[in-house]
């Protein structure tokens, strides 16, 4: 067991380091230190997404992108969050949960929508069961477009958001 772990520890990650991610990350960290102290936490709310956007948000936390090292953290509860990351076109069934999650988030708080259907509903616009996006329910501070946006695009989006504050 130890030998197996050692092997991996010495070898490290086989994928190449992406220079762009590193420089984006440094800027992200600087912005977070200036505006949020040490870290910026978000709570993710899936309001009826197909799961691809959520998968890419998770990918941004994998060892390759590892946004935690830049000071971005995923909060388990909205009580600990600075912002909500919302995916999906807002199914009717999620409307109440979304509103309550927003109310449970302490101010100052922000809304970032991720993915094409979180703004305006995208492919699911005018369905009998969607609210046509989170922007129809809450005031959105930043939208990250894409179907789904890649982890890099999510990092760029977060940086744009932090710069706008």
């Amino acid at each position: 067991m130890l030998n197996m772990l050692k092997n991996r520890l010495f070898k490290g990650v086989a994928l190449e380091k992406d220079k762009e991610i590193e420089s984006l990350g440094r800027e992200l960290k600087r912005q977070i230190t200036n505006k949020f102290g040490r870290s910026f936490s978000f709570r993710e709310v899936d309001t009826g997404s197909c799961g691809a956007c959520d998968s890419e948000i998770i990918a941004a936390t994998n060892p390759i992108y590892d946004i935690q090292r830049f000071g971005v953290h995923v909060a388990a509860s909205p009580r600990h969050a600075d912002a909500l990351l919302i995916t999906g076109p807002v199914s009717r069934n999620m409307l109440l949960a979304l509103k309550e999650t927003w109310e449970a988030t302490p101010a100052p708080k922000y809304v970032i929508t991720v993915g094409d259907c979180a703004r305006g509903g995208g492919l699911f616009r005018d369905s009998y069961y969607t609210e046509n996006g989170a922007d129809a329910v809450l005031k959105v501070d930043l939208h990250i477009p894409g179907c789904p946006p890649t982890p890099k695009e999510i990092i760029v989006g977060l940086l744009t958001f932090l710069k706008s504050l």
């Binding site: 197996m4 799961g51 990918a59 999650t101 009998y128 069961y129």
Partner: protein, 498 residues
């Protein structure tokens, strides 16, 4: 995958139940699909379609009837796998399953959707359904001394889809788990209607994002079958390779999830690295990390070069072997997954559990085996286990991952040159399209009208039926093992909720 043929029996409403029971028994098939379609504008009636799988002959066996006085005979007392479908027909079409075991609403939550509005009827009017009476959902109550309930969700602690789980416990063991889903219901089936099929391929890829390719493939092959064409051979090879790539990145994600849920961080992160490598290969090959935009009606939208794939997958397989060895050689990990969350074969068969979850419990059903075609040429070997616990599901996934690497190599070595897309002319008709996605068979029933537009699209993602397995697998286990059991099934909220 080669499309399976269809055999249709049209019966009167009186004969419907008998006919279905007979098929169920002789074919040893669960209800694969059971749904309604609104034919009132043309024929003045609602049709009910019940579809079984004849695995010996590789055919779909369809029993069709019509609803009488907005009702049809329920199968649920004899065929357990029909319950969810009947609940669905009732809430979407307002047709009563006579003698049904459970007729509560499934996705249109009583709290937000008024009574008497059936969205899949052709004359449904959205504006009148905007407000109205509010009801409450009746959860199963477990009563007795010391029994307590733990409600969880819909918003969970991790980055994961929304669903509500209600545990009833006596001490530590769970004695009942009721799932209330539907939180990601978006009305997908209705969004297909009245559009040209080629305009809705992108929508089919957004039904369940992690199964984008399987959904796109099932939809396209249904439309192809209606117009009587078969995708060119080169397209079939490319599609099969993509289907396996999708299986690989999702299976490894799930294996990592199992490690996460026992708090074993190292292999979990290794799995995340493997998943990322695979998604980068997807990106390199197709331009999409989720293999979107490849499927097109008649074949594939643009040509892909499969040649470099086996070489790209070699280092991935090496990492995967390391992951497998770390998990299998760790005693505390094995102790957590062994005999946890067991789903026995009888329950799996009764509920119609399919895909890797079913195969881990001994339900030997894999559409890749049944459909033959290039999978048969490649000597495809399905992974089956008999134990039905978390470990069995983990091992089935591991073997499927390894088999996928082998299959992709075969496809890359044997893909012929030639056309990638067949010309297509839309006609009136209906057909069933299918693809063995990484969670199991993804099924699409597609019906077109005289204008070449979509009249009715019924989608069954394996998650829809497999969610039920979770409520049985968890019985007698403790709540801390729930995330582990849940992850071992790795089901899709949006795929089940539509």
């Amino acid at each position: 995958m080669k499309a399976l043929n269809e055999r249709k029996t049209i019966v009167t409403p009186r004969e419907f139940r008998e006919a279905c029971l007979k098929k169920h028994q002789t074919l040893r098939s669960p209800v694969m699909m059971l749904f309604a379609s609104d034919h009132r504008p043309r024929d003045g009636r609602f049709f009910i379609h019940c579809i079984f799988l004849d695995r010996d002959n590789g055919e779909w066996d369809v029993v069709e009837t019509y609803a009488e006085d907005n009702a049809f005979d329920s199968l649920s007392k004899d065929v357990y796998s029909s319950i969810l479908f009947e609940r669905e027909i009732k809430e979407l079409f307002g047709l009563e399953p006579k003698g049904g075991l459970d007729t509560r609403r499934l996705r249109l939550h009583d709290e937000v959707w008024p009574e008497g509005h059936y969205p899949l009827r052709k004359d449904f009017n959205l504006s009148s359904a905007a407000s109205g009476a509010r009801g409450k959902y009746a959860f199963t109550k477990v009563e007795g001394e010391g029994i307590f309930e733990v409600p969880v969700g819909p918003v969970h602690a991790g980055i994961i889809g929304p669903g509500h789980f209600r545990f009833s416990c006596a001490g530590e063991p769970v004695i009942n788990l009721e799932l209330r889903l539907g939180f990601t219901h978006r009305g997908v089936e209705k969004m297909f209607e009245n559009a040209r099929p080629e305009d809705k391929v992108a929508l089919s890829e957004c039904v369940a994002g992690d199964s984008a390719f399987a959904h796109g493939l099932a939809f396209c092959s249904a439309v192809e079958k209606i117009s009587g064409i078969v995708a060119p051979e080169r397209a079939r090879y490319v599609r099969a390779a993509c289907l396996e790539l999708e299986r690989m990145y999702n299976h490894v994600n799930d294996i990592g999830g199992i490690a996460t849920d026992v708090g074993f961080g190292f292999p979990a992160n290794l799995a995340a690295i493997i998943k990322e490598s695979l998604q980068r290969i997807n990106q390199k090959l197709t331009g999409s990390r989720f293999l979107k935009g490849i499927n097109a009606i008649g074949g594939i939208g643009r040509d892909l070069e499969l040649g470099p794939l086996p070489a790209l997958l070699l280092p991935v397989l090496k990492d995967f072997n390391e992951l497998k060895n770390i998990l299998h050689s760790n005693v505390s990990f094995m102790d957590r997954v062994d005999t946890t969350g067991t789903l026995d074969k009888k329950t799996a068969e009764d509920l119609g559990i399919i895909g890797p979850a079913g195969r881990a419990s001994g339900v030997d059903l894999d559409l890749r085996k049944i459909s033959g075609g290039i999978y048969e040429k490649a000597g495809f070997n399905p992974a089956v286990d008999a134990v039905g616990d978390v470990l069995a599901r983990l091992n089935v996934r591991i073997r499927e991952f390894e088999e996928s690497v082998r299959l992709i190599k075969y496809f890359a070595d044997n893909v012929p040159e030639g056309k990638i897309r067949a010309e297509i002319e839309m006609t009136v008709g209906s057909a069933i399209g299918s693809a063995e996605g990484w969670r199991g068979p993804v099924l699409y029933f597609v019906e077109t009208n005289g204008e070449g537009k979509l009249e009715r699209v019924k989608i069954v993602d394996p998650s829809f039926r497999n969610w039920q397995a979770l409520s049985f697998a968890i019985l007698g286990n403790i709540i801390p093992d729930f995330p582990l059991c849940n992850k071992s099934f790795d089901l899709s909220y949006p795929g089940g909720d539509l």
